[in-house]
Amino acid sequence: MYPSRFRYEAPRSLGEAIGLLREGGDEAKVMAGGQSLVPLMKLRFASPELIVDINNIGGLDYHRADADGTLRVGALCRHADLEHSDLLRSTQPTMAAAAPLIADPLVRNRGTLVGSLCHADPQGDWASVVTALGGSVIAQGPEGRRAIPMADFVTGPFENTLALDEIAVEAVIPAAQGARAGGYLKLERRVGDFATVGVAVALELSGTTVTRAGIALTGVGGSTIAATGAAAALAGQALTPESIEHAAELAAQAAQPRTDHRGSAEYKRHMVRTFVVRLLSRAGPASGDGDPAERAA
């Protein structure tokens, strides 16, 4: 399969890329890893007239922590970079757990976290992770940069709030106020499939008390679901069997699953509850982070 014909530009700077986007208007599309965009173009679900390939722009392939702990992930940081990152392993349990579960190893070598956020697939794993962590996307346009909170970034399935001449250059995860705990669990029929159910839990703990909680759900609604009620119920509480059960119940209620070939709505809702219980039980101070690469069987 071939994509339909397009003009291809591979600028060397962000300024040049933004100029091209301005010129191309709503017929232009940014390509980073291309692991979602190229298949869409081959199937002719997307037929942009102009592809602005940002892979030749230097200085975007980083992920690093500021002195205060704020994590910054550049637009060309690949999933595989995050999967093998010591920084994530030691400071970002939720991201470290999610990175090896994105697609498959071959896709992870090219696909990017920022591109995944922009693609705004309701079944995208990173959107849940970044939502649970309270992250944001930095957009750069002709007038400079602005931060867009993840909660406002996605406007619908496969739609984001970027202006036509803006590029998402970075994802930002704010510094934790307490000790980080949490994880990501994904139920998938086989490697590389979309999530039947995915749950991201991101906690900040002061001793045994939860000072901040984020819970987000993948694959159980028309978009990424922020289970804000469940998260709010945990804030200020200790992780006890009761508080965990209560949060899991609220998260299961927040899910909007539909019955399809991956499972019944009932089953998916049940799995949300199970995953929240598992992740929160594991997040207790005594229980460690668990195996970040654990797959839900």
């Binding site: 399969m1 071939y2 994509p3 339909s4 014909r5 397009f6 003009r7 291809y8 591979a10 291309g34 692991q35 190229v38 298949p39 173009m41 081959k42 199937l43 592809i51 390939d53 892979n55 595989a80 090896p100 697609a103 498959d104 190893p105 071959l106 896709v107 070598n109 090219r110 490697v191 590389g192 690469a293």
Partner: protein
């Protein structure tokens, strides 16, 4: 120089915007003129005649089209040929020398790592990327590294054994020790 490309019938072939790219494939430097929508898999198979890179699903699922770009295993059906500009590609044809099979190829032969052989080039390249980064993988490491490559024949057991066989063969012998004998190392050990 003549460039021949497929008449896709959907647009005027007279206006194809061609791009000139330079790249290295299996150690040989090449220049090609490509239409930007040409996929890397097509450039390799049709442009260069290297048909060891297979097209299986054409939808980023199966991994049959796996090649190495700058040493990283990627799906060549999901990368534009024009994006290979300035990069180094390795296909299955780059594994063997004129006189010798690559240890991975030997391993697939010794351990019966293939039946129909369609997925095999992709399997071997994904395995090569693994062994280049991790010469002493566990069985789990091998399964993890091959998890993006589908095989419809073998049930994967012998593919995993083949890669472990090759890993044992590729590891340098301990100083003063005996020659490595991959056959003596139980494949399940890891």
């Amino acid at each position: 120089m003549t460039t021949v490309y497929d008449d896709l019938g959907d647009q005027d072939t007279g206006e194809a915007p061609m791009r000139r790219i330079r790249f290295t494939i299996n150690g040989v430097r090449k220049v090609a003129e490509v239409e930007p929508r040409l996929l890397l898999a097509h450039l390799i198979r049709r442009g260069l005649g290297l048909t060891g890179t297979h097209m299986g699903c054409d939808t980023t699922n199966c991994g049959a089209c796996t090649v190495l770009v700058d040493g990283k295993a990627i799906k060549s059906c999901t990368m534009l040929a024009v994006q290979a500009d300035g990069h180094e590609i390795t296909t299955v044809e780059g594994l063997a020398t004129a006189s010798e099979l690559h240890p991975l190829q030997e391993g697939f032969k010794e351990e019966h790592g293939l039946q129909c052989g369609f997925c095999t080039p992709g399997m071997m390249l994904a395995a090569k990327a693994l062994l280049d980064a991790n010469p002493d993988p566990t069985e789990d490491d091998v399964r993890w590294a091959l998890s993006g490559n589908l095989c419809r024949c073998t049930g994967y057991q012998n593919i995993v054994k083949s890669v472990l066989w090759a890993a044992a063969r590729l590891r340098p012998a301990p100083a003063g020790g005996p020659e490595p004998d991959p056959a003596a190392e139980p494949a399940q050990e890891a």
